[in-house]
Amino acid sequence: MAQRTTEIIVGLFMVAGCAALLFLALQVSGLSPKSAESTYTIFADFNDTGGLTPRGRVSMAGVTVGAIESISLNKDTFQARVEMSIHSDIDNIPSDSSAVIRTSGLLGEQYIDISIGAEMDSLKEGDTFYSTQSAMNLERLISNFASGR
Protein backbone atom coordinates (compact mmCIF):
# COMPACT_ATOMS: atom_id res chain seq x y z
CA MET A 1 0.00 0.00 0.00
CA ALA A 2 1.20 3.48 -0.80
CA GLN A 3 2.86 5.36 2.04
CA ARG A 4 0.39 8.24 1.68
CA THR A 5 -2.69 6.02 2.08
CA THR A 6 -1.23 4.42 5.21
CA GLU A 7 -0.53 7.85 6.64
CA ILE A 8 -4.10 8.97 6.04
CA ILE A 9 -5.66 5.82 7.49
CA VAL A 10 -3.46 5.86 10.60
CA GLY A 11 -4.21 9.57 10.95
CA LEU A 12 -7.94 8.84 10.85
CA PHE A 13 -7.42 6.10 13.45
CA MET A 14 -5.71 8.53 15.83
CA VAL A 15 -8.38 11.17 15.20
CA ALA A 16 -11.07 8.59 15.99
CA GLY A 17 -9.25 7.84 19.26
CA CYS A 18 -9.11 11.51 20.22
CA ALA A 19 -12.77 11.98 19.29
CA ALA A 20 -13.68 8.98 21.46
CA LEU A 21 -11.75 10.42 24.40
CA LEU A 22 -13.49 13.77 23.89
CA PHE A 23 -16.83 11.97 23.87
CA LEU A 24 -15.96 10.21 27.14
CA ALA A 25 -14.94 13.55 28.64
CA LEU A 26 -17.90 15.65 27.56
CA GLN A 27 -20.84 13.32 27.15
CA VAL A 28 -20.07 10.48 29.57
CA SER A 29 -18.33 12.20 32.47
CA GLY A 30 -20.11 15.53 31.93
CA LEU A 31 -16.91 17.53 32.11
CA SER A 32 -17.98 21.04 31.16
CA PRO A 33 -15.45 23.33 29.45
CA LYS A 34 -16.27 26.18 31.82
CA SER A 35 -15.04 24.31 34.91
CA ALA A 36 -13.62 27.41 36.63
CA GLU A 37 -16.98 28.86 37.62
CA SER A 38 -16.78 31.52 40.30
CA THR A 39 -18.14 30.35 43.64
CA TYR A 40 -18.25 31.41 47.28
CA THR A 41 -17.78 29.22 50.32
CA ILE A 42 -20.23 28.70 53.19
CA PHE A 43 -20.21 26.24 56.06
CA ALA A 44 -22.70 24.09 57.94
CA ASP A 45 -22.28 22.09 61.16
CA PHE A 46 -24.10 18.76 61.35
CA ASN A 47 -24.48 16.29 64.20
CA ASP A 48 -24.37 13.41 61.74
CA THR A 49 -23.47 13.63 58.05
CA GLY A 50 -24.36 10.00 57.36
CA GLY A 51 -23.16 9.01 53.90
CA LEU A 52 -22.46 12.53 52.66
CA THR A 53 -19.33 12.67 50.48
CA PRO A 54 -17.19 15.45 49.02
CA ARG A 55 -18.19 16.43 45.45
CA GLY A 56 -21.80 15.72 46.37
CA ARG A 57 -24.36 18.28 45.30
CA VAL A 58 -25.95 21.16 47.15
CA SER A 59 -29.41 22.01 45.90
CA MET A 60 -32.24 24.45 46.44
CA ALA A 61 -35.75 23.46 45.44
CA GLY A 62 -34.22 20.51 43.59
CA VAL A 63 -31.90 22.66 41.45
CA THR A 64 -28.16 22.11 41.92
CA VAL A 65 -26.60 25.36 43.10
CA GLY A 66 -23.22 24.16 44.37
CA ALA A 67 -21.05 21.29 45.53
CA ILE A 68 -19.65 19.92 48.78
CA GLU A 69 -15.96 20.72 49.02
CA SER A 70 -14.87 18.93 52.19
CA ILE A 71 -16.19 17.33 55.36
CA SER A 72 -14.15 17.54 58.55
CA LEU A 73 -14.67 17.08 62.27
CA ASN A 74 -14.86 20.15 64.46
CA LYS A 75 -12.80 19.04 67.48
CA ASP A 76 -14.40 21.55 69.87
CA THR A 77 -18.04 20.69 69.30
CA PHE A 78 -17.60 17.15 67.93
CA GLN A 79 -19.80 18.10 65.03
CA ALA A 80 -19.07 17.58 61.37
CA ARG A 81 -18.16 20.78 59.53
CA VAL A 82 -19.14 20.71 55.87
CA GLU A 83 -17.59 23.21 53.50
CA MET A 84 -19.60 23.88 50.37
CA SER A 85 -19.10 26.13 47.39
CA ILE A 86 -22.14 27.91 45.99
CA HIS A 87 -22.34 29.49 42.53
CA SER A 88 -21.75 33.24 42.77
CA ASP A 89 -24.94 34.13 40.94
CA ILE A 90 -26.98 32.58 43.79
CA ASP A 91 -26.08 35.40 46.19
CA ASN A 92 -29.40 35.90 47.98
CA ILE A 93 -29.76 32.85 50.27
CA PRO A 94 -31.51 34.22 53.40
CA SER A 95 -29.25 34.05 56.45
CA ASP A 96 -31.77 32.05 58.51
CA SER A 97 -32.00 29.29 55.89
CA SER A 98 -31.27 25.79 57.09
CA ALA A 99 -29.18 23.03 55.53
CA VAL A 100 -30.85 19.63 55.44
CA ILE A 101 -29.24 16.34 54.45
CA ARG A 102 -31.56 14.40 52.18
CA THR A 103 -31.35 11.19 50.20
CA SER A 104 -32.28 11.07 46.53
CA GLY A 105 -34.54 8.07 46.13
CA LEU A 106 -34.57 5.14 48.52
CA LEU A 107 -31.00 4.01 47.90
CA GLY A 108 -29.60 7.06 46.15
CA GLU A 109 -26.72 9.27 47.21
CA GLN A 110 -27.10 11.90 49.93
CA TYR A 111 -27.06 15.62 49.20
CA ILE A 112 -27.57 18.90 51.01
CA ASP A 113 -30.84 20.70 50.44
CA ILE A 114 -31.08 24.34 51.48
CA SER A 115 -34.52 25.17 52.80
CA ILE A 116 -35.19 28.86 52.50
CA GLY A 117 -35.63 31.17 55.46
CA ALA A 118 -37.35 34.54 55.66
CA GLU A 119 -34.55 36.91 56.72
CA MET A 120 -33.68 39.87 54.46
CA ASP A 121 -29.89 39.47 55.02
CA SER A 122 -28.18 36.86 52.88
CA LEU A 123 -25.35 34.39 53.54
CA LYS A 124 -21.93 35.63 52.43
CA GLU A 125 -18.48 34.10 51.92
CA GLY A 126 -17.36 32.26 55.09
CA ASP A 127 -20.77 32.31 56.82
CA THR A 128 -22.19 29.31 58.65
CA PHE A 129 -25.75 28.05 58.49
CA TYR A 130 -27.72 28.92 61.62
CA SER A 131 -29.71 25.71 61.70
CA THR A 132 -29.10 22.29 60.20
CA GLN A 133 -30.86 18.99 60.08
CA SER A 134 -28.75 15.84 60.11
CA ALA A 135 -28.98 12.79 57.94
CA MET A 136 -31.92 10.53 58.59
CA ASN A 137 -30.56 7.35 60.12
CA LEU A 138 -32.84 4.48 59.26
CA GLU A 139 -31.43 2.18 61.96
CA ARG A 140 -31.91 4.80 64.67
CA LEU A 141 -35.40 5.49 63.41
CA ILE A 142 -36.30 1.81 63.60
CA SER A 143 -34.75 1.33 67.05
CA ASN A 144 -36.62 4.40 68.37
CA PHE A 145 -39.81 3.02 66.94
CA ALA A 146 -39.18 -0.47 68.35
CA SER A 147 -38.41 0.82 71.84
CA GLY A 148 -41.59 2.88 71.75
CA ARG A 149 -40.04 6.33 72.23
Partner: protein, 260 residues
Protein backbone atom coordinates in the same frame (compact mmCIF):
# COMPACT_ATOMS: atom_id res chain seq x y z
CA UNK B 1 15.03 -38.44 42.43
CA UNK B 2 18.09 -36.19 42.29
CA UNK B 3 17.47 -35.80 38.56
CA UNK B 4 13.95 -34.60 39.20
CA UNK B 5 15.06 -32.00 41.71
CA UNK B 6 17.78 -30.91 39.31
CA UNK B 7 15.23 -30.62 36.50
CA UNK B 8 12.98 -28.58 38.75
CA UNK B 9 15.84 -26.27 39.63
CA UNK B 10 16.81 -25.93 35.97
CA UNK B 11 13.23 -24.97 35.16
CA UNK B 12 13.33 -22.25 37.80
CA UNK B 13 16.65 -20.96 36.50
CA UNK B 14 15.27 -20.97 32.95
CA UNK B 15 12.30 -18.88 34.01
CA UNK B 16 14.47 -16.40 35.89
CA UNK B 17 16.95 -16.13 33.05
CA UNK B 18 14.17 -15.56 30.53
CA UNK B 19 12.89 -12.71 32.74
CA UNK B 20 16.40 -11.31 32.70
CA UNK B 21 16.72 -11.66 28.93
CA UNK B 22 13.36 -9.97 28.37
CA UNK B 23 14.44 -7.08 30.59
CA UNK B 24 17.75 -6.68 28.74
CA UNK B 25 15.87 -6.96 25.46
CA UNK B 26 13.46 -4.21 26.51
CA UNK B 27 16.33 -1.98 27.60
CA UNK B 28 18.02 -2.57 24.24
CA UNK B 29 14.88 -1.67 22.32
CA UNK B 30 14.15 1.44 24.33
CA UNK B 31 17.77 2.63 24.27
CA UNK B 32 17.97 2.41 20.49
CA UNK B 33 15.69 5.34 19.70
CA UNK B 34 14.99 5.22 15.95
CA UNK B 35 15.90 8.27 13.90
CA UNK B 36 12.72 10.24 13.13
CA UNK B 37 13.30 10.23 9.36
CA UNK B 38 13.52 6.44 9.01
CA UNK B 39 11.68 5.41 12.16
CA UNK B 40 8.43 7.26 11.58
CA UNK B 41 7.33 5.49 8.37
CA UNK B 42 8.11 2.13 10.01
CA UNK B 43 6.05 3.07 13.07
CA UNK B 44 3.22 4.22 10.83
CA UNK B 45 3.17 0.91 8.99
CA UNK B 46 3.04 -0.99 12.28
CA UNK B 47 0.33 1.28 13.66
CA UNK B 48 -1.69 0.38 10.60
CA UNK B 49 -1.09 -3.36 11.06
CA UNK B 50 -1.56 -3.39 14.83
CA UNK B 51 -4.10 -0.64 15.38
CA UNK B 52 -6.24 0.00 12.33
CA UNK B 53 -6.63 -3.65 11.39
CA UNK B 54 -7.70 -4.50 14.97
CA UNK B 55 -10.42 -1.87 14.78
CA UNK B 56 -13.05 -4.20 13.30
CA UNK B 57 -12.90 -6.81 16.09
CA UNK B 58 -12.73 -4.07 18.75
CA UNK B 59 -15.77 -2.22 17.42
CA UNK B 60 -17.89 -5.34 16.95
CA UNK B 61 -17.06 -6.81 20.38
CA UNK B 62 -17.53 -3.41 22.02
CA UNK B 63 -20.96 -3.08 20.49
CA UNK B 64 -22.07 -6.53 21.62
CA UNK B 65 -20.62 -6.19 25.11
CA UNK B 66 -22.39 -2.86 25.53
CA UNK B 67 -25.66 -4.38 24.36
CA UNK B 68 -25.29 -7.34 26.72
CA UNK B 69 -24.54 -4.98 29.61
CA UNK B 70 -27.66 -3.03 28.70
CA UNK B 71 -29.85 -6.15 28.70
CA UNK B 72 -28.41 -7.67 31.87
CA UNK B 73 -28.39 -4.36 33.71
CA UNK B 74 -31.98 -3.68 32.77
CA UNK B 75 -33.12 -7.09 34.03
CA UNK B 76 -31.42 -6.64 37.39
CA UNK B 77 -32.13 -2.94 37.89
CA UNK B 78 -35.79 -3.15 36.92
CA UNK B 79 -36.31 -5.42 39.96
CA UNK B 80 -35.49 -2.37 42.09
CA UNK B 81 -37.34 0.07 39.88
CA UNK B 82 -34.15 1.94 39.10
CA UNK B 83 -33.70 1.28 35.38
CA UNK B 84 -32.49 4.86 35.03
CA UNK B 85 -29.21 3.86 36.68
CA UNK B 86 -28.44 1.67 33.67
CA UNK B 87 -26.39 4.42 31.99
CA UNK B 88 -24.24 4.82 35.06
CA UNK B 89 -23.74 1.05 35.31
CA UNK B 90 -22.78 0.60 31.66
CA UNK B 91 -20.44 3.59 31.58
CA UNK B 92 -18.60 2.74 34.80
CA UNK B 93 -18.21 -0.94 33.89
CA UNK B 94 -16.88 -0.13 30.44
CA UNK B 95 -14.66 2.81 31.27
CA UNK B 96 -13.10 1.32 34.39
CA UNK B 97 -12.82 -2.37 33.62
CA UNK B 98 -14.17 -3.94 30.48
CA UNK B 99 -12.82 -1.34 28.06
CA UNK B 100 -9.15 -1.72 28.96
CA UNK B 101 -9.25 -5.43 29.87
CA UNK B 102 -11.30 -6.87 27.00
CA UNK B 103 -9.43 -4.68 24.50
CA UNK B 104 -6.14 -5.98 25.87
CA UNK B 105 -7.29 -9.62 25.66
CA UNK B 106 -8.54 -9.15 22.10
CA UNK B 107 -5.39 -7.25 21.23
CA UNK B 108 -3.21 -10.08 22.54
CA UNK B 109 -5.13 -12.56 20.42
CA UNK B 110 -5.45 -10.44 17.29
CA UNK B 111 -2.26 -8.38 17.12
CA UNK B 112 0.10 -9.93 19.69
CA UNK B 113 0.05 -13.38 18.16
CA UNK B 114 0.62 -11.89 14.69
CA UNK B 115 3.62 -9.92 15.94
CA UNK B 116 5.14 -13.01 17.54
CA UNK B 117 4.63 -15.16 14.47
CA UNK B 118 6.03 -12.50 12.16
CA UNK B 119 9.16 -11.87 14.21
CA UNK B 120 9.59 -15.58 14.90
CA UNK B 121 9.47 -16.37 11.19
CA UNK B 122 11.96 -13.57 10.51
CA UNK B 123 14.25 -15.23 13.01
CA UNK B 124 13.70 -18.73 11.61
CA UNK B 125 14.44 -17.59 8.05
CA UNK B 126 17.48 -15.72 9.38
CA UNK B 127 16.29 -12.32 8.22
CA UNK B 128 17.22 -10.86 11.58
CA UNK B 129 20.78 -12.18 11.46
CA UNK B 130 21.22 -11.04 7.86
CA UNK B 131 20.14 -7.57 8.94
CA UNK B 132 22.85 -7.67 11.57
CA UNK B 133 25.32 -8.74 8.87
CA UNK B 134 24.34 -5.65 6.86
CA UNK B 135 24.95 -3.48 9.88
CA UNK B 136 21.25 -2.77 10.51
CA UNK B 137 20.22 -3.18 14.13
CA UNK B 138 17.17 -5.48 14.06
CA UNK B 139 16.10 -4.23 17.49
CA UNK B 140 15.86 -0.73 16.11
CA UNK B 141 14.55 -1.59 12.66
CA UNK B 142 12.11 -4.43 13.40
CA UNK B 143 11.32 -4.60 17.10
CA UNK B 144 11.13 -0.97 18.24
CA UNK B 145 8.42 0.16 15.75
CA UNK B 146 6.26 -2.83 16.71
CA UNK B 147 6.66 -2.22 20.44
CA UNK B 148 5.80 1.47 20.12
CA UNK B 149 2.88 0.73 17.80
CA UNK B 150 1.32 -1.60 20.38
CA UNK B 151 1.99 0.93 23.10
CA UNK B 152 0.25 3.73 21.17
CA UNK B 153 -2.56 1.72 19.60
CA UNK B 154 -3.90 0.11 22.79
CA UNK B 155 -5.23 3.21 24.58
CA UNK B 156 -6.80 4.43 21.34
CA UNK B 157 -8.50 1.07 20.82
CA UNK B 158 -9.66 0.89 24.44
CA UNK B 159 -11.23 4.35 24.30
CA UNK B 160 -13.01 3.49 21.05
CA UNK B 161 -14.18 0.22 22.63
CA UNK B 162 -15.71 2.07 25.58
CA UNK B 163 -17.48 4.60 23.39
CA UNK B 164 -18.91 1.96 21.07
CA UNK B 165 -19.97 -0.10 24.10
CA UNK B 166 -21.79 2.84 25.67
CA UNK B 167 -23.49 3.48 22.36
CA UNK B 168 -24.52 -0.20 22.19
CA UNK B 169 -25.85 0.00 25.73
CA UNK B 170 -27.84 3.09 24.82
CA UNK B 171 -29.21 1.31 21.77
CA UNK B 172 -30.61 -1.47 23.96
CA UNK B 173 -31.50 0.56 27.05
CA UNK B 174 -33.01 3.68 25.50
CA UNK B 175 -34.18 2.73 22.03
CA UNK B 176 -35.30 -0.78 22.75
CA UNK B 177 -36.21 -1.12 26.42
CA UNK B 178 -37.47 2.44 26.79
CA UNK B 179 -35.32 3.98 29.53
CA UNK B 180 -35.70 7.77 29.42
CA UNK B 181 -32.76 9.19 27.49
CA UNK B 182 -32.29 12.23 29.74
CA UNK B 183 -31.90 10.16 32.89
CA UNK B 184 -29.67 7.68 31.03
CA UNK B 185 -27.11 10.39 30.26
CA UNK B 186 -27.78 12.43 33.40
CA UNK B 187 -27.13 9.55 35.78
CA UNK B 188 -24.03 8.66 33.80
CA UNK B 189 -22.64 12.19 33.89
CA UNK B 190 -23.24 12.64 37.60
CA UNK B 191 -21.46 9.40 38.52
CA UNK B 192 -18.57 9.18 36.05
CA UNK B 193 -15.62 11.37 36.92
CA UNK B 194 -13.21 12.30 34.15
CA UNK B 195 -9.97 11.99 36.11
CA UNK B 196 -10.91 9.16 38.48
CA UNK B 197 -12.71 6.93 36.01
CA UNK B 198 -11.86 7.84 32.42
CA UNK B 199 -8.21 8.75 32.86
CA UNK B 200 -7.55 5.81 35.19
CA UNK B 201 -9.03 3.55 32.51
CA UNK B 202 -6.72 5.12 29.94
CA UNK B 203 -3.73 4.60 32.25
CA UNK B 204 -4.72 0.95 32.59
CA UNK B 205 -4.87 0.51 28.84
CA UNK B 206 -1.49 2.18 28.38
CA UNK B 207 0.05 -0.28 30.83
CA UNK B 208 -1.70 -3.22 29.12
CA UNK B 209 -0.54 -2.00 25.70
CA UNK B 210 3.02 -1.86 26.90
CA UNK B 211 2.91 -5.30 28.52
CA UNK B 212 1.14 -7.02 25.61
CA UNK B 213 3.48 -5.53 23.00
CA UNK B 214 6.53 -6.35 25.10
CA UNK B 215 5.51 -9.98 25.61
CA UNK B 216 4.60 -10.37 21.92
CA UNK B 217 7.85 -9.02 20.48
CA UNK B 218 9.99 -10.71 23.10
CA UNK B 219 8.40 -14.12 22.52
CA UNK B 220 8.97 -13.71 18.79
CA UNK B 221 12.53 -12.55 19.20
CA UNK B 222 13.39 -15.27 21.71
CA UNK B 223 11.60 -18.19 20.05
CA UNK B 224 13.24 -21.43 18.99
CA UNK B 225 13.68 -20.86 15.23
CA UNK B 226 11.68 -23.87 14.04
CA UNK B 227 8.06 -24.21 13.04
CA UNK B 228 7.26 -25.90 16.37
CA UNK B 229 9.14 -23.15 18.19
CA UNK B 230 7.15 -20.41 16.46
CA UNK B 231 3.84 -22.07 17.24
CA UNK B 232 4.71 -22.51 20.91
CA UNK B 233 5.92 -18.89 21.08
CA UNK B 234 2.61 -17.69 19.62
CA UNK B 235 0.69 -19.73 22.18
CA UNK B 236 2.87 -18.38 24.96
CA UNK B 237 2.23 -14.82 23.81
CA UNK B 238 -1.52 -15.20 24.11
CA UNK B 239 -1.37 -17.08 27.42
CA UNK B 240 1.20 -14.84 29.11
CA UNK B 241 -0.41 -11.64 27.83
CA UNK B 242 -3.83 -12.66 29.11
CA UNK B 243 -2.46 -13.66 32.50
CA UNK B 244 -0.38 -10.51 32.80
CA UNK B 245 -3.35 -8.33 31.81
CA UNK B 246 -5.72 -9.91 34.32
CA UNK B 247 -3.15 -9.93 37.13
CA UNK B 248 -2.08 -6.33 36.52
CA UNK B 249 -5.73 -5.33 36.28
CA UNK B 250 -6.34 -6.60 39.79
CA UNK B 251 -3.32 -4.74 41.14
CA UNK B 252 -4.19 -1.50 39.36
CA UNK B 253 -7.85 -1.69 40.34
CA UNK B 254 -6.82 -2.14 43.97
CA UNK B 255 -4.53 0.89 43.75
CA UNK B 256 -6.88 3.14 41.75
CA UNK B 257 -10.34 2.32 43.06
CA UNK B 258 -9.74 0.56 46.39
CA UNK B 259 -10.39 2.76 49.42
CA UNK B 260 -7.33 2.26 51.53
Amino acid sequence: MIDRIAAFGRLGLDVVSSFGRSGRFLAGVLAGVPRPATGFPLLLKQLYAVGVLSLAIIVVSGLFIGMVLGLQGFTILSDYGSEAAIGQMIALTLVRELGPVVTALLFAGRAGSALTAEIGLMKATEQLSSMEMMGVDPLRRVIAPRLWAGFIAMPVLAVIFSVVGIWGGMLVGVDWLGVFEGSFWGNMQSSVDFVDDVLNGVIKSIVFGFVCAWIAVYQGYDCVPTSAGISSATTKTVVYSSLAVLGLDFVMTAVMFGDF
